[in-house]
Amino acid sequence: MPVSSLWSRLVLAGLSACLVLFVVGPLLRLLWESSPQSLIEALQDSELQASITLTVLTASMATFLAALLGIPLAYLLARRPFPGRRIVQGIIDLPVVIPHPVAGIALLLFLGRRSPVGGALADLGLEFVSHVPGIVAAMLFVSAPILVSGAREAFRAVDPQLERVARTLGDTGWGAFRRVTLPLAGRGILAASILAWARSVSEFGSIVILTYNPKVASIYIFDRFTAFGLQSAIPAAVILLLVALTVFIMVRVLQPQERA
């Protein structure tokens, strides 16, 4: 957008500032509301400790699964033209547009004891509804698209010719991938994984339907809010916010710099 006059620059700056303040304002207000003492107290609460531990473990498990299944898919999408590539790409992106409670209900129907899949898995001892695997499943559903698209872009940014060079230098296809493409795409994949992890930590809508108990942090905060009111929910909310901010900074540091 060409900027010509002082007036138009002021309008642009004003509108932009409004949105930035709208994002920063509530977060600062929340941080302001808590004191270090209240945070320490909250952290000593065994229920909150348990929910944060559960959140970190389930989000890590979901990210691990998303990486295990998603990185090969991202590579395929970035490098190998195959029939139906666009359709697969679309399917992978689908969870992004589905409202989270809808995803939760769909997962409930798919993984519940009465469905063929959920029933078969339950017979093998893997129960989802109201169990920890349900949390992991919901997190995987919402975070996999983030990991796949991030990893796909990371692979796209690596010149495919480099693998060919490695092949002429005696590497097998796998060796060339492991020694050339993977290290070069590594930062981008790591950034995508952290984002997927953060997305898992922040998930609420589908988990609340699939597995209310045991409570992950987002449900714990919701539970405190509805049962004991706002003041009781604030310390846990601040702790979760700090976790999210830490992750956000890590991703920013890892991602390649935007060009000016």
């Binding site: 060919r164 060079v165 590497d171 050339v180």
Partner: protein
């Protein structure tokens, strides 16, 4: 030795067809052709990156058609070098050594890297990252990396395209020296015929996915077999026209005839009649200031349009009713006081006109 036997490669809509070529052990062959003629595709097929529709690839008498690139024992230097950006110069050069057949230990590897760095004068760069290297430096590193595992075959894709003219000359000379020292069978792709004349023992001109002509650079340059090759290698003046038999001459092969085209009528020695191109090498036109008495020659009267000095040779751009380029030594150009506007006569033997 590299032998290509009727290769057919398809990449998208492009076909490379009927490619047969043999580079003798230790030979240096160049594939030349304009952009889009399939040169790089051909190298990729030799390297094993492109799938063959038909044909076979032999290296040292072994059929390698079904082998993946890593088992062909060749080095490949790409046009854009493609150095590994996450590795230092040293690790780029050492990359292939660990994976080569007679895998060497760490010390042997370090020794080989040093040896190559020394040969290519890049020892000072070894611990640098590859970002920030100049084009010439990148090219040396890429060459060292390709040579490090001691391949018996080297493939080069326009290796001098991205460096300045001065660096190109130095690198060319070094490459030729290296080739002679290491005795590696080399196949290089270029769009520059000058490079072929300077480097190659053998040249193949590629046009639209087929080999238009192959032979020694000298042969191809002096006796192009088509107007395309003549124009591409810069043999000289190429004029489209028609050959007619002189009525008095009834010999079967190589009869006296007349070529008409481009506003000129020339006596020629032809092998067939009909539409053809006359190729006239600039050095076969003898320039004089007055008509030559020799009747066995074609005489073309015209004026000098422009002089182009190329070192000891001067190219004389003539207007003889159509543009024609003749060459004289710069000394005789000065003796004849040639300058634009001077009227001259160009004499040309009938046998010097190549009909293709």
């Amino acid at each position: 030795m590299i032998r290509l036997d009727s290769l057919h490669v398809r990449v998208g809509n492009f076909d490379l067809r009927d490619i047969s070529l043999e580079v003798p052990p230790g030979g240096y062959a160049l594939i030349i052709g304009p952009t889009g003629s399939g040169k790089t595709t051909l190298l990729e097929a030799v390297a094993g990156h492109a799938r063959l529709q038909a044909g076979r690839v032999f290296m040292h008498n072994d059929d390698v058609t079904g082998l993946p690139p890593e088992r062909r024992g060749l080095g490949f230097v790409y046009q854009q070098y493609h150095l590994f950006p996450h590795l230092s110069v040293r690790d780029n050069i050492g990359y292939g050594i660990a994976r080569s057949k007679g895998a060497v230990d760490g010390a042997g590897r370090a020794q080989r890297v040093l040896e190559l760095a020394d040969m290519l004068a890049i020892t000072a760069l070894l611990d640098r990252p590859v970002q920030g290297l100049s084009g010439g430096e990148q090219q040396r590193v890429a060459l060292a990396r390709a040579l490090a595992p001691k391949p018996s075959i080297l493939l080069l894709d326009e290796p001098f395209a991205a460096v300045d003219a001065a660096t190109r000359q130095v690198l060319r000379r070094e490459l030729r020296g290296l080739h002679e020292r290491e005795g590696i069978t080399t196949l290089q792709v270029t769009h520059d015929f000058d490079e072929a004349l300077r480097l190659g023992d053998l040249v193949a001109v590629l046009s639209e996915g087929r080999i238009a002509q192959s032979g020694t650079p000298e042969q191809v340059f002096r006796y192009p077999n088509s107007a395309f090759v003549a124009r591409f290698v810069g043999t000289g003046n190429v004029i489209a026209g028609v050959v007619e038999r002189t009525p008095s001459d009834d010999r079967e092969l190589a009869f006296r005839g007349r070529f008409r085209g481009g506003g000129l009528t020339l006596d020629v020695v032809a092998e067939r009649e009909g539409p053809m191109h006359a190729v006239i090498r600039p050095e076969d036109i003898v320039l004089s200031l007055s008509p030559h008495p020799d009747s066995a020659r074609n005489h073309l009267e015209g004026t000098v349009a422009r002089l182009e000095r190329v070192g000891p040779i001067t190219l004389v751009h003539l207007d003889v009713g159509r543009p024609l380029i003749a060459s004289v030594t710069t000394t005789s150009s000065e003796e004849m006081a040639l300058h634009p506007g001077v009227r001259v006569v160009g004499s040309l033997k009938a046998t010097a006109i190549l009909l293709v």
